[in-house]
């Protein structure tokens, strides 16, 4: 058993070299609470090094905590698990940032997990390729982070969830064994084993590489915006357009207050709603999708807005315009189509009860639901913070869940036992991201 921090450092250096072991920054140490276990940040350069590190950690029952680019949201703690005081190894994957293979015939890329989504986009762009219509703001984290932590923000109407782009993963299990799930467009040879590891937040295995589906950059793109009589009408218009099989690249619905905060005071009336849409693909099809959305909005009493509204939204979405970017929303929930309006009303009612106010937009529309983002404010429009925010948000989340929404970080409750059991089998010493 390794007794001291120095012994641990020497063992780690033997695997990755002296240059790639460092003291953790103060912020990380604070997370450990009052106890100060031996802790090091290690930068492995390859999957075999990760395998050695995990085998080492397994032998010494050291905790292994994955670090990506540090953008991840703090995961919801499962319970007040007391993490025993034991050595900690922070595994920083950022040196593992290589494209291993780019198959332009099949439109498949094999990448190491330390590469960020944005860096990958920069490599793909000159070849006319892209990961998909994902919001660039969601691509700042590493591929490992994107695949390990599931948040609904990482999805697009046309290309689905980032996880749906996974054709295969390579990972190191807790005891240092390496596994590769095989790559095929689809298969019927048992469960999709990659889905065991995606979304597991580093508790079942450490991802080292992934094979992802990519796309050609679209031939054409159209932007449009419409004002509708109400938020509910706008949601109905989206449903109508999707029912007609429109496949927009991005689609967003703002309520009146949110539209005026995001797109300018003059964009619409207070009770109105704004729908912005981007369509892309072969020119004729992209135009068709644009027109399908337009006719759905006009069927619900909408009117077209000038092109500058949609263009402003698009520049901001793609990070070309930073000025006036509104604060991030206070809460997000996922709601199936039939529940979206009800969830919206429930949150507004709950806020009114707490003498607060809420504005909202909905996006990431997929067949099975969309994400509603709420910004909680004082009646004067000032954004809530601190304890007041926590209090109002807790009530609002409860109201949303009662109206049929799924909260961020929920689990399939009936599978909780099975998830815990699977974790015990794959990581019997509980070294991988314990407590997460």
């Amino acid at each position: 058993v390794i007794a001291s921090a120095d012994e641990l450092r020497i063992a780690l250096e033997a695997v990755v070299g002296t240059m790639h072991v460092e003291r953790p920054p103060a912020a990380l140490l604070r997370r450990g609470g009052s106890a100060r276990p031996a802790a090091w940040v290690v930068h492995p350069g390859s999957a075999p090094e990760v395998a050695e590190l995990l085998a080492l950690a397994h032998r010494h029952r050291a905790a292994v905590i994955p670090l990506g680019s540090g953008t991840r949201a703090t995961p919801v703690r499962r319970s007040s698990v007391v993490v025993p005081v034991r050595p900690r190894i922070y595994l920083d994957s950022r040196r593992m940032c290589h494209v291993l293979h780019l198959d332009e015939t099949s439109l498949v890329v094999h990448v190491q997990v330390g590469l960020t989504g944005l860096a990958l986009e920069r490599i793909l762009a000159p070849r006319g390729l892209t990961l998909g219509d994902y919001p660039p703001s969601s691509l700042g984290s590493t591929i490992g982070g994107l695949l390990s932590v599931r948040t609904p923000g990482k999805s697009s109407t046309r290309h689905g969830f980032v996880e749906d782009a996974v054709l295969g993963v390579s990972a190191v299990l807790a005891d240092g064994r390496t596994v590769h799930t095989r790559v095929a467009p689809r298969r019927a040879s048992g469960p999709d084993l990659a889905r065991v590891l995606c979304g597991s937040e580093g508790t079942l295995a450490f991802l080292t590489a992934a094979v992802l589906r990519i796309h050609r950059r679209p031939e054409a793109r159209f932007l449009a915006s419409h004002a509708l009589p109400s938020f509910e009408d706008a949601l109905a218009a989206v449903r109508l357009a999707l029912r007609e099989e429109a496949a927009p690249a991005a689609l967003r619905v703002y309520d009146g207050a949110e539209a005026r905060a995001h797109l300018g005071e003059s964009v619409c009336g207070e009770a109105e709603a704004v729908l912005v849409v981007a369509t892309s693909g072969p020119t004729d099809l992209a135009a068709c999708d644009r027109d399908l959305v337009a006719s759905a909005t006009s069927a619900l009493g909408g009117r077209p807005l000038g092109p500058e509204v949609a263009e402003r939204w698009w520049r901001r979405r793609t990070g070309q315009e930073q000025a006036g970017t509104p604060a991030p929303p206070s809460m997000q929930v996922t709601a199936p189509p039939s529940r979206q309006a009800e969830v919206y009303r429930a949150v507004l009612a709950s806020c009114a009860e707490a003498r607060a106010s809420a504005r909202a937009h909905a996006s990431r529309f997929a067949a099975d639901g969309a994400v509603e983002f709420f910004t909680l404010t004082e009646p004067t429009g000032e954004v809530l913070t601190g304890e007041r925010l926590a209090e109002v948000r807790t009530a609002a989340e409860r109201a949303a869940a009662a109206a049929g929404a799924i909260l961020l970080g929920s689990e399939y409750a009936e599978f909780a036992d099975y998830a815990a059991d699977l974790e015990r089998r794959l990581d019997p010493e509980d070294i991988l991201n314990p407590g997460a």
Binding site: R187, P191, D192, R216, P336, F415, A419, D421
Partner: protein, 601 residues
């Protein structure tokens, strides 16, 4: 593999309080019926009059999820294996018991619980028959878009258990792409449910872990599936492409442009010929040999359901286009080089008879004939069927783009007729097996898949592997932006049953080894069952560790469908012990040796 020493009467008594007298049976006639599915290897023996080897000890017909959970609990306490059973249309032996146990037939759980029009979701029980389910959806203006050729004789639960694909999967996706939620009775005897969009949840994606588990983790009792609005238009067209490679390239371009036709089928040279050889299309002339006549009848007859009725509405009327049969026949005859019409006909007859006697006799002759035949055929193109359906405006625009892309790739438009013919006969294949076996032949299909980069290698490797033993043809269908599946059909005749079984096993052993060797998957949509179990370690290699962990979690006592998916056969067997060798002479070690381990993925 020894049948477990379970007392049938004890089982019956334990099940009685759950389902009552009439829904449990230990009668031999019932046990024999449930000892098989449509695995061709078993049919070879059955047609020779052999009894199925392994019978279940009891058959039970539950009517509710609570009953299913109670049955699993009883089985667990008695150490009896559970074999879930749907339509019995599986072709890999997934529902064949190997140790006996309790076969749980879910067909009495066949209700459509609700259709949520706003969310385009449907809740349906696992035992629902495919065609009835689709017809019911059609009545409400929806479609699941899932049309396996077994649609008349398979169930929703069966589709989910083996990750089935329908003929229009290129637009609607495979069944796993349509799952929004599942109810499962696990091997622990507990009913657990997933619900709500998976992307909103943390932890393993349970839907995708249960789908495809073939009853080895639990019994799927009901599902929430995504449906689509019924299509307003359907457009089907036939094309001829110069050769296989240019056809594959054309499909890849279509898919990678973001276009989603519902149907894409590219037939290789022999498949093109067989499907349009005159004797298969209509009654053969008197000159046909006895063998030829048998085969022709096998391909022509059988209680084939009308595809346009029931599961599918009529194709929206389009202007009649004169059949191009004369053109096609002309082309077939043209294969044989320039000569006068009567001489051409004689040559065509000789070619046909040559091919067929080769089919029916020795594989050596097949290869000798197939090579020059294939070479000749390759000069005359491959058939490609493309279909689109959906909402009127968008589908018509998409169709124009798809057809334009195909023409740019050099495909010749053959009009509507080939598509209409395919549509009318698209469920036939499931009903042709029996007559083929009666004719003394055996036939089976192997569906593999790979990314585009490896696709032609996959075709070549698997075709070569099978061609040593049988006549083989293939079509490419189920296309994706990143790859495609290949569907091989092979048939052969053997002098006796044992020889047939040996040949059958050799075909599968060599075919699957070839698929793994070039980086394809051994199954695109039929599943693993007993048939492909020995190839699972080559398919997943080290990742089998994860599958075994999952199995131990969901089914700690190992009672759920033992021996399938290459998992251990005996209840309670330690995870990691070798998979059984169901085919007798299909040695796992031998197979493993035939497949070199690859480094990396």
């Amino acid at each position: 593999m020894a049948r477990l020493a379970l007392d049938a009467e004890t089982l019956r008594r334990a099940l009685l309080p759950i389902v009552g007298e009439r829904r449990v049976s230990v009668r031999e006639s019932d046990l024999v019926s449930y000892a098989r599915d449509m695995w061709p290897r078993n049919l070879i023996g059955l047609h020779a009059g052999r009894r199925p080897g392994d019978l279940p000890h009891a058959v039970v017909w539950p009517e509710s999820e609570r009953e299913v959970a109670a049955i699993v609990k009883v089985a667990r306490s008695l150490g009896a294996p559970i074999i879930p059973y749907g339509g019995g249309s599986g072709v890999c032996g997934g529902a064949v018991p190997i140790l006996g146990g309790i076969t749980v037939d879910l067909k009495r759980m066949n209700e459509i619980r609700s259709i949520h029009r706003d969310d385009m979701l449907v809740d349906v029980e696992a035992g629902a028959n495919g065609e009835r389910f689709e017809r019911e959806l059609n009545r409400r203006g929806c479609t699941l878009g899932h049309f396996p050729s077994s649609i008349y004789c398979s169930t929703v639960g069966g589709w989910l258990a083996c990750r089935a694909a329908g003929q229009m999967s290129t637009k609607y996706g495979k069944i796993e792409d349509r799952v929004a939620g599942l109810s499962v009775v696990t091997g622990r005897g507990e009913l657990v449910r997933t619900d709500g969009p998976a992307r909103a949840h943390r932890g393993p994606g349970w839907n995708q872990l249960v789908v495809g588990s073939e009853g080895t983790l639990g019994i799927i009792t009901s599902a929430r599936l995504q449906v689509s609005p019924s299509p307003e238009v359907r457009i089907l067209r036939g094309f001829e492409v110069q050769d296989l490679a240019s056809g594959v390239e054309a499909i890849r371009r279509v898919l990678q442009r973001g276009l989603r036709p519902a149907v894409v089928r590219l037939y290789d040279e022999l498949d093109t010929l067989i499907n349009h050889l005159p004797i298969f299309a209509r009654k053969s002339a008197a000159a046909a040999s006895e063998d030829e006549e048998l085969l022709a009848r096998a391909f022509r007859t059988g209680p084939v359901p009308r595809a346009e009725r029931g599961a599918l509405p009529e194709i929206p009327p389009r202007e009649q286009i004169a059949p191009t049969a004369s053109g096609l026949t002309g082309r077939l005859l043209g294969l044989l080089g320039p000569s006068t019409p009567p001489a051409r006909r004689r040559l065509a007859g000789r070619l046909r008879r040559g091919a067929l006697s080769a089919v029916l006799a020795r594989p050596g002759l097949v290869n000798g004939l197939a090579a020059p035949l294939a070479e000749r055929l390759s000069r005359h193109g491959c058939r490609l069927i493309v279909g689109l359906e959906g909402s009127r405006i968008r589908t018509e625009i998409e169709a124009r783009l798809v057809l334009g892309e195909l023409e740019r790739a050099g495909a010749t438009d053959l009009g509507d007729e080939p598509g209409r013919q395919w549509l009318a006969h698209r469920y036939d294949v499931s009903y042709k097996m029996s007559p083929v076996f009666r004719a003394g032949l055996f036939v089976d299909t192997m569906e593999v898949a790979a990314t585009w980069e490896r696709l032609l290698d996959l075709h070549r490797a698997v075709k070569q592997a099978i061609a040593q033993h049988a006549v083989v043809m293939a079509h490419f269908s189920h296309a994706y932006p990143e790859g495609c599946s290949i569907y091989f059909t092979f048939f052969a005749r053997a002098t006796d049953t044992d020889q047939a079984l040996r040949a059958y096993d050799a075909i599968w052993r060599d075919g699957m080894a070839a698929a793994s060797r070039v980086g394809g998957t051994i199954s695109h949509h039929h599943g693993i069952g007993l048939l492909k179990g020995p190839a699972m370690s080559a398919e997943h290699r080290e990742a089998m560790v994860i599958l075994r962990a999952l199995k131990a979690t969901m089914d700690p006592d190992g009672i759920m469908n033992p021996g399938k998916l290459g998992l251990p056969a005996a209840p309670g067997a330690a995870p990691g012990s070798a998979a059984p060798d169901p085919a007798g002479d299909l040695a796992t070690a031998e197979l493993a040796a035939a497949i070199p381990a690859e480094a990396g993925s």
